[in-house]
């Protein structure tokens, strides 16, 4: 056998191996890139990924990529080819909020939606033996009487809880100092030990230790959110109109792929995710963590996400207001 025929045979062999592989999508691991580190959100994504992986017949892994308010994860995903093997876990902060804050260049309609995943509510919590106030209105009155003295944490800066909490404080004209923490549990710990006055509590952390902090205000008017925090008072129960409703003050994610992904692969992924999200076992697991599985499919993406974007846009000046008010105090 001369060199030429060996070459021809090897080309033929490669093409024979290659053809069925090309025809059958998916044939290798699919990666879902999560804009957060280890925590309840990672667990929820892992549950959905496992169920989807079973539907698709390939392993699906979740790659936790924290950093820069979720932007790093989006940019990492955008660097990968749009071949259906990379899914972007489109959490609201990098998807909607960062573009509003001019920290990211994309728009939500630059992506193709697969299906909505899950939402989680936030709340404000303070120490259980707090003596200065017993409810949210009283805390706001204390804060107004002592401008700049309240110290709170929204976890990281410029994230969704920061925007929502700044908006609430702005509504009451209360100037407070936001102290950034990399991990929300560490901030909650410092509230417990009295260094911080209050902090945002996500529902996953609340479920781990419901008695750690007193939940003073659930930042959502939805009944499911109130129930998730053990029936604590919510923004529906206070007199002030904060101008936030629906999904706007909550965390949620919508799984996405890049615009240039082949349509038939998008359909395959949509079908798998749709099936996973309807699976009662998957839903029960997600609910156990305190998150709410979402039922919307891709057809509702534009309407729902643009609605949230419009609401968040009107709130965007709250963080700026907080910074300016603190500066004015110094």
């Amino acid at each position: 056998m001369n060199f030429k025929s060996i070459f021809a045979a090897s080309v033929l062999a490669t093409s024979l191996i290659g053809v069925p592989a090309m025809a059958e999508y998916p044939d290798r691991t699919i990666e879902s890139i999560l804009p957060a580190g280890a925590g309840p959100a990672l667990s929820v994504s892992q549950i959905i990924a496992d169920a989807m992986g079973k539907e698709l017949g390939v392993p699906m892994t979740v790659l936790a990529t924290p950093g820069a308010g979720g932007i790093k994860a989006f940019q990492t995903a955008l660097q990968k080819p749009g071949d259906g093997y990379t899914i972007i876990d489109g959490y609201v902060a990098p998807l909607v909020l960062q573009p509003i804050l001019k920290k990211a260049e994309w728009n939500f309609d630059d992506f193709i939606p697969l299906h909505a995943a899950a939402s989680n509510a936030f709340a404000i919590g303070w120490r259980t033996d707090e003596t200065r106030w017993s409810n949210f209105e009283e805390m706001m009155a204390w804060g107004k009487a002592n401008p700049g003295k309240l110290r709170y944490s929204s976890g990281q800066r410029n994230n969704l809880p920061h925007l929502v909490m700044a908006k609430v404080l702005q509504s009451y004209q209360v100037v407070a100092q936001n102290v950034p923490y990399k991990s929300p549990p560490a901030a909650n710990n410092d509230v417990k030990s009295g260094i911080l006055d209050f902090a945002f509590v996500n529902v996953g952390n609340y479920k781990q230790d419901p008695d750690a902090l007193k939940i003073g205000l659930v930042l959502s008017e939805q009944a499911s959110a109130k129930a998730a925090f053990g029936g604590a008072p919510s923004i529906a129960d206070i007199d002030a109109d904060l101008g936030i409703s629906g999904l706007a003050p909550m965390g949620w994610d919508w799984w996405l792929v890049k615009k240039d992904t082949p349509p038939e692969r998008v359909e395959t992924l949509r079908a798998a995710m749709g099936k996973a999200m309807k699976d009662p076992d998957v839903r029960a697991k997600i609910e156990r963590i305190g998150f709410v599985p979402l039922d919307w499919d891709h057809t509702e993406y534009d309407k729902i996400v643009s609605g949230v974007r419009d609401q968040l846009s009107t709130m965007a000046d709250a963080i700026k207001w907080e910074e300016d008010a603190l500066k004015a105090l110094k």
Binding site: S43, P66, A68, A186, I195, Q208, P210, D211
Partner: protein
């Protein structure tokens, strides 16, 4: 407590649990020994498989990877002078010289025995003092973490033998490198040069692998024995190495206690504890022990500390639901997926699972000793590879391990660049470890100092007003005075002996 363990024993006592712990340990030792990968990566890779088991078995499997991975890095540190994980960076000071003196098997044996004993000690602390240690950790706020970071930085004095000044320069460079990334407090980008890959700073794994592995392999390349098969007699490691460790029981107990306490503090971690334990051991050591030249006590200190940290890190994880480090954060995630919430409610509602997790942790440490010693000949075989085979294999492993952390090609470039930095530092006689200490402690120090100042409305009194913070401040001042005293005494002794020689 005993009820809890007794209930847990029912969940642990099965052949499948034993098999999972054994498999987890072997995987852990391998991911630990391979440069780049580490216990965290091992846990993440095996997570989808683990969640198909009941909670205690799943935790047994992953905790075994955690335990094995915390020890595995020592193997490559001892054999190749490359810490498989940043956790083992303090192990190479004495491990590598010991291997060079023909005692590779002993060094690995000591590392494994010390890890197992330190880990078991951490486990005892976990079982006996979980609630009180959790309360101790809960009192740690930003001022305490800032001072703890300074305690860690004093370790630089211990690991820069030849020149304190060069050590401090390398440490400061590390602190500066840690400033790259997004500033937590203003959300501004610092030293990212518009590269999104740097928005979360440099990947610490890429830095460690680059500094140590690339520069070490380049160093080996310059030898003229690339094709020769090293003619080494491979000594059989024995279970007797445990005696070598046990005779150093004060060191073992002290280092394990440091490890367990640091582990219990969320956000601190094994690198700080191993360097601190090493520095303390060196300070207390007699000069004839020759730390840095193959002292058995050096390996005992750093390895018992970093494995005890694993036990300590499980304390806030289980008792408070607050992860002690990144690996335990993933363990919490696994428990959540399995429908179990770590925290005080777990102790009240599922005491059998808590007992089971305590027991699988202890089991993993005992098994580490047996599995590790039995596998040592396999590891030591690496020393008999010809360099022409060894160098490309190690470089390939480094590349795979570093890439796997974040699926990022950029990290490979970072690794390569730090390889060059490592070469330059070595050529100038600068120690590499202080740079690693700086990079790891930089964010802990900077963010907590700034957080403290925000909390105190820019006052410094907060550092002395809080009892724990004041105690740490006192310890730091005492440590610095000790370092100054011992350095002066050594210099004085050297001068004296030089004078005596001159006269003679």
């Amino acid at each position: 407590m005993f009820d809890m363990l007794l209930q847990g024993a029912g969940l642990v006592a099965s052949l499948s649990t034993l098999a999972l712990v054994g498999a987890g340990l072997i995987i852990g030792l391998l991911v630990g020994a391979l440069p780049g990968l580490g216990p965290l990566m091992g846990i993440i890779l095996l997570l989808p498989y683990a969640i198909t088991f009941p909670p205690v078995q799943a935790m047994g499997f992953l905790i075994a990877i955690y335990v094995g991975g915390s020890c595995g890095g020592a193997i490559s540190a001892i054999l190749l002078r490359i810490p498989g994980t940043p956790l083992a960076a303090a192990t190479l000071f004495d491990g590598y010289p010991m291997a060079q003196n023909g005692r590779a098997a002993d060094a690995i044996g000591i590392a494994i025995s010390a890890s197992a004993l330190g880990g078991a000690f951490g486990g005892l602390i976990l079982i006996l003092f979980s609630p009180s240690l959790a309360a101790f950790a809960a009192g740690f706020g930003p001022p305490e973490y800032a001072l703890l970071a300074i305690t860690g930085l004093t370790a630089i004095a211990a690991v820069s033998d030849q020149s304190m000044l060069k050590g401090l320069i390398a440490g400061t460079a590390g602190l500066l490198l840690a400033t790259a990334g997004t500033d937590e407090f203003t959300a501004a980008e610092r030293f990212t040069f518009g590269l999104f890959e740097l928005s979360d700073g440099f990947n610490i794994v890429a830095i460690v692998v680059g500094l140590f592995a690339i520069s070490e392999m380049s160093n080996l390349l310059t030898g003229d024995d690339l094709l020769e098969r090293p003619n080494l007699a491979i000594a059989r490691p024995g279970f007797r190495t445990v005696m070598l460790v046990l005779t150093r029981w004060p060191n073992l107990l002290r280092s394990s206690t440091i490890g367990a306490c640091v582990g219990a503090l969320p956000g601190a971690g094994g690198v700080i504890s191993s360097f601190t334990a090493y520095a303390v051991a060196k300070t207390f050591a007699k000069s004839e022990e020759r730390y840095g030249e193959g002292a058995e006590g050096g390996i005992v200190a750093s390895e018992s500390a970093n494995n005890a940290t694993a036990g300590g890190a499980l304390v806030p994880t289980l008792a408070l639901g607050i992860p002690g480090d990144a690996a335990t954060a993933v363990l919490i995630g696994v428990l959540l997926i399995l429908g179990i919430f770590p925290g005080p409610t777990l102790f009240a509602q599922h005491s059998d699972i808590v007992g089971g997790i305590f027991l699988v942790y202890m089991l993993a440490n005992i098994a580490l000793f047996v599995v590790g010693i039995l596998m040592t000949p396999l590891f030591v075989y690496v020393l008999r590879l010809r360099k022409v085979v060894l160098i490309p294999t190690v470089l390939l492993m480094c590349a795979i391990g570093t890439y796997a952390v974040g699926s990022s090609v950029f990290d490979l470039w970072v690794m390569f660049a730090f390889g060059l930095v490592g070469l330059v530092l070595r050529a100038g006689g600068y120690p590499l470890a202080p740079m690693v200490i700086g990079v790891i402690l930089g964010p802990l120090l900077e963010n907590n100092v700034r957080r403290t100042l925000l909390l105190s409305h820019d006052g410094l009194r907060i550092f002395v007003e809080r009892p724990v913070s004041a105690t740490l401040l006192f310890i730091n001042v005492a440590l610095l005075l000790c370092v100054a005293f011992f350095t002066l005494r050594r210099l004085f002794a050297e001068r004296q002996s030089a004078l005596v020689e001159e006269k003679a």
